[in-house]
């Protein structure tokens, strides 16, 4: 199997990470050849709007495309669409696409992201049951929205809640079913979960907590109801499954690369195989904001951060220090922004009144600010992100007082080691 085509850099995956990496190389004047392989047929696009503005119809494909079509026609990056990589052959230095073509590389960057986790219950493949991960998913949901009478969203995470919010804005009746006792249980604190619960219920969403799904029932191949562990059966002609992401790493695992929850990479985003890097949602990486623990992050910030790291590695330019992870979610009129990682905080401090619709929660570990959740408090996010980045110790009483802008909080002299703190 000798590849007809060989590139200096092959990027597998045309999402945020892959596109950012390929275009970073171009911007840096990289002289080698670069191929960008996308599994989907659509030109590279941003995924976050799929469950927000694009689902609502407020944004078009042109709005969410990373670049206009004319860009790729003239870019030195060779964009190869509809090319899903099914095998990686490190000893031959090539990847093989689903149609059997080997494509050779000198450096391989795996940016293949993940796919929506399936719900392993009977009826999961009925018509009317969708994920919201790809453009095709979002288009399929949009096509059914005009006739949908009762939607059920399975999973009270970001995707599920953003989708539910979009449905309500469009006037579609929607029930959210969440197995955990609270919404957003994996990503935020109880006080923020409670706020989002109130928000969605006030918008008319029927939220069922602590309820699992046992079966999707259909008629004539099309979903008609969702059966719950509580014994209840919810009528549904449109079902959204938002129960997480499975990293696309099977070809790497089959090639013998170290994989756990994601493909394992080091601080430079290098895998255990020579000349293969991995970035973004699929990369299990040591993260300094998790005290160096190996984690996998599913967010734009992490994808672009990894892209910067891998690009610097390819170009041989100095690495920058890791930026603080951040994430955003838009639901109704709420702009929710979060900075840092909530893992392992020992104290949460509520800043402002949640009933006012605008408040922040700061999370402390050993007195240091490790994360912030900002609900309609853009200033707290922009100012507080820097405090999180520096791991500053702050006075919880000042933190709790919204009349003190976060940037004016005096750092507390730290009794502990200064490791991880600002220089």
């Amino acid at each position: 199997m000798n590849p007809q085509r060989v590139y200096d850099v092959v990027v597998v995956g045309a999402g945020h990470g892959g596109v950012h990496l390929a275009t970073s190389l171009v911007k840096s004047g990289y002289a080698g050849s670069v191929a960008l392989l996308g599994a989907e047929l659509a030109a590279p696009y941003e995924r976050p709007p799929l469950s927000k503005g694009y689902l609502l119809g407020a944004e078009t494909f042109d709005d969410i495309a990373f670049r206009p079509a004319t860009y790729w026609a003239t870019s030195p990056v060779e964009l190869l669409l509809g090319r899903r990589v099914t095998r990686v052959l490190p000893e031959r230095r090539c990847v093989v696409t689903a149609d059997g073509e080997p494509i050779g590389y000198r450096r391989l960057v795996w940016a293949a992201g993940g796919r929506a986790r399936e719900l392993p219950v009977p009826g999961q493949h009925l018509a009317g049951v969708h994920s919201v991960r790809t453009l095709a998913d979002a288009n399929a949901v949009r096509a059914e929205l005009s006739t949908a009478r009762a939607a059920v969203v399975i999973g009270g995470g970001y995707i599920g809640l953003e989708t539910a919010a979009a449905f309500r804005k469009l006037g579609v009746a929607v029930t959210v079913v969440e197995q955990q006792p609270r919404l957003l249980a994996r990503v935020t604190s109880p006080v923020v979960s409670a706020h989002f619960l109130r928000l969605h219920r006030a918008a008319g969403v029927d939220v069922r907590l602590g309820a699992g799904v046992t079966e999707l029932r259909g008629t004539g191949g099309r979903v008609r109801s969702v059966a719950l562990t509580t014994g209840e059966e919810l009528p549904a002609d449109l079902v959204i499954v938002g129960v997480g992401l499975v990293p696309n790493i099977e070809p790497l695992a089959a090639a013998g690369l170290a994989c756990g929850n994601g493909v394992e990479v080091d601080e430079r985003c290098r895998t255990t195989a020579p000349d293969i890097s991995a970035i973004g949602d699929c990369a299990s990486h040591p993260n300094r904001f998790a005290a160096g623990a190996r984690i996998r992050l599913e967010c734009v910030q992490n994808a672009t951060e990894h892209a910067r790291i891998a690009a610097a590695d390819i170009l041989g330019t100095p690495q920058q220090h890791g930026a603080v992870p951040w994430f955003w979610s838009n639901q109704y009129d709420v702009k929710f922004k979060t900075a840092g990682l909530l893992t392992g905080y020992d104290r949460d401090v509520v800043r402002g009144d949640p009933d006012s619709g605008a408040f922040t929660v700061g999370y402390l570990r050993d007195g240091r600010l490790v994360a912030l959740d900002c609900v309609n408090t853009a200033a707290d996010f922009s100012q507080g992100r820097l405090l999180v980045e520096r791991g500053v110790a702050v006075d919880p009483h000042l933190l709790a007082d919204p009349t003190h802008p976060l940037r004016t909080l005096p750092p507390i002299p730290d009794r502990r080691s200064a490791r991880g703190a600002a220089p």
Binding site: H20, T23, V26, K27, S28, E46, P48, P49, F66, R67, P68, Y71, S75, V300, Q301, T304, R308, W326, W328, K337, A378, A379, F381, S382, Q383, R385, L386, R407
Partner: protein, 103 residues
């Protein structure tokens, strides 16, 4: 055809075609202007599309919103002429606009 000029910190200029209705950030991204990462795609979350607007043009642009001003407070090297380029919609009457990209 209207144009916009991006200038890097060394003073090197790149003139590109303006597109009426597109943000200055989008124009930078579409033309591979270094230093405009545009991570969040225009949500005012990241500050990675920060530019300095040529003082001669600053008055011809709409004022900063609160959210934009908050983000500019925390970008590297803020100046009175700092803007988030995602918030600047290019129009043909801005033909000749000049912005500097801090890196």
């Amino acid at each position: 055809m209207s144009t916009i000029t991006f200038i890097d910190l060394r003073g090197v200029e790149r003139k590109v075609d303006g597109v009426d209705g597109q943000s200055v950030m989008q124009l930078a991204v579409n033309n591979d202007i270094p230093g405009i990462d545009a991570e969040c795609g225009g949500e005012m979350n990241c500050g990675t599309c920060h530019v300095y607007v040529d003082p001669a043009w600053a008055d011809r642009l709409p004022e900063r919103s609160h959210d934009e001003a908050d983000m500019i407070d925390v970008v590297d090297g803020p100046r009175p002429t700092s803007r988030l380029s995602c918030q600047l919609v290019f129009r043909d009457d801005l033909d000749g606009l000049r912005v500097t990209v801090p890196q």
